[in-house]
Amino acid sequence: MANQEFEPRIVAFFCNWCTYTAADLAGVSRMKYASNIRIIRLMCSGRVDPQFVMDAFARGADGVLIGGCHPGDCHYISGNYKCLRRYHMLERMMADLGVEKDRLRLEWISASEGDKVKRVVNEMVEQVRALGPLDLPGRFADWDAEMRELDEKVQREHDGACEAHAAKETQS
């Protein structure tokens, strides 16, 4: 299928203290992982507003990965728990809105787990690649194409009226 050429775009929200540092470690350790993720650094996974996740999807992300500190390790004590609770509701909501489960993922990755960043990212890229593009901007454009039919009909009627009018003019 076309999925051979499809390169998923995955938006990753990583917390400053653990997962982002781990991604940094993966980098300085010269580990190679798929280049399909765009990392956005936040101070805490508790800062991941569900609006960010939905907006990422709505603007064309094929997947969203959230990375935070392991339970008990949050720099702000409880931010990762807040993230976990929101994630469980968001998971259900995304399913209800028809977004496949594998497109949204939450992982706890500590600052020393550069190899886990590599494993999680590679895994997720393959899963999303198998799902194919989500392409919400394209789907929204599809939905709105039906409104063009009316536009064109109105334009045709207008053109017809103009022509009739012009014909009358020339006759007289």
Partner: protein, 335 residues
């Protein structure tokens, strides 16, 4: 005809409650009628589409349009009113954000037609007849029905909208204030929602009983719960949309001892009301373990219907995204 400003009302996919709320102006409607000419209002006065077509472009001072947009007829009418009007106000939740009709965005057009014309227990339709947009009878006389669109749209997803009056329905007070502002020419910037820009909690009569830290061990459902008439609903473990909803409704539901269901939409700082309420409510679940969190959250059986009750059209995802659309145009657009 006088040179009083002209006003039009129109009704799309809605229940009629918005029209009712206009009548709820009661005797104040006489003052309004003194100041404006109502030129088009299908529910109350006899003026036809052709009468609107005959008006000069921009000659209606303001059109108040309620209801979501589901059919081609509604699309056509609101486009006509847009052309003829100086200002267009999206009146009520349905016009502002899709309202209850937009909950249908969880299903495809085919699913809806099948349920309504075949599967509904009160339907007797052995030949599975569905309505068609065009039909030509044996005498060669053709009749048409408006097209039923794939999704429900808010008014501003179809035409340019100047202001929104939120609510299901908007209060007579907000309508009176809006009309006053228009008549006096004291108009806020385009795009403004004509209601206070603070959260419902801020003006809630139970504000003082809202604890600093709420923590949920379970979510209770209103119809199974003996609700305290004084205490914050969230503190009682009942889902209340107050934190993610705009104020201005005069706390009518709260005063009736029912939690806020979110009809005024979000404040200007929030883009997605449902996502925002998850952020607020779900983060306060007491547990730190996945299984327990899921079990507490299962007390909210229908998140879409609860969090997007009045605004699925305005959800960032606009509805269920894996529904296939069926128009010849869309297939062409894909190519």
């Amino acid at each position: 005809m006088t040179d009083k400003p002209k006003v039009a009302f129109y009704w799309c996919a809605s229940c009629g409650g918005c029209e009712e709320s206009t009548v709820d102006l009661a005797e104040a409607i006489l003052d309004v009628a003194k100041l404006v000419d109502i030129v088009f209002w299908p529910v109350a006065i006899d003026a036809k589409k052709k009468d609107v077509e005959a008006m000069a472009d921009g000659s209606i001072a303001v059109s108040l349009i309620n209801g979501a947009i589901r059919t081609s007829e509604q699309e056509e009418m609101v486009r006509l009113l847009r052309r003829k009007s100086g200002l267009v106000i999206a009146y009520g939740s349905c016009a502002q954000s899709g309202g209850i009709p937009a909950l249908a965005n969880q299903f495809t057009r085919e699913q809806i037609m099948r349920v309504v014309y075949e599967e509904c227990p009160t339907v007797d339709n052995p030949n599975k007849v569905h309505p068609q947009e065009t039909y030509v009878d044996t005498d060669g006389i053709g009749v048409t029905l408006p097209g039923f669109r794939n999704i429900v749209r808010s008014l501003d997803q179809v035409i340019d909208v100047d202001y929104a009056l939120p609510g299901c329905p908007p209060t007579p007070k907000l309508l009176a204030e809006a009309l006053q502002a228009i008549l006096e020419g004291k108009l806020p910037p385009k795009g403004t929602v004509l209601a206070p820009d603070v959260a419902q909690c801020d003006t809630c009569p139970r504000k003082d009983t809202k604890p600093q830290d709420v923590s949920y061990l379970e979510f209770k459902r209103p119809h199974w719960t003996d609700m305290d008439p004084e205490k914050c609903f969230l503190a009682q473990g009942i889902v209340c949309m107050g934190p993610a909803t705009r104020s201005g409704c005069e706390s009518q539901c709260i005063s009736g001892n029912m939690p806020c269901t979110g009809c005024f939409g979000p404040t200007s700082r929030v883009r997605d009301q449902g996502a925002k309420i998850i952020s607020s409510i779900c983060s306060s679940v007491a547990s730190e373990e996945s299984d327990q969190i899921k079990s507490v959250l299962s007390g909210i059986p229908d998140p879409i219907g609860t969090f997007y009750r009045y605004g699925l059209s305005k959800c960032l995802l606009r509805g269920r995204v894996d529904t296939a659309v069926t128009t010849s145009q869309s297939q062409e657009a894909r190519k």
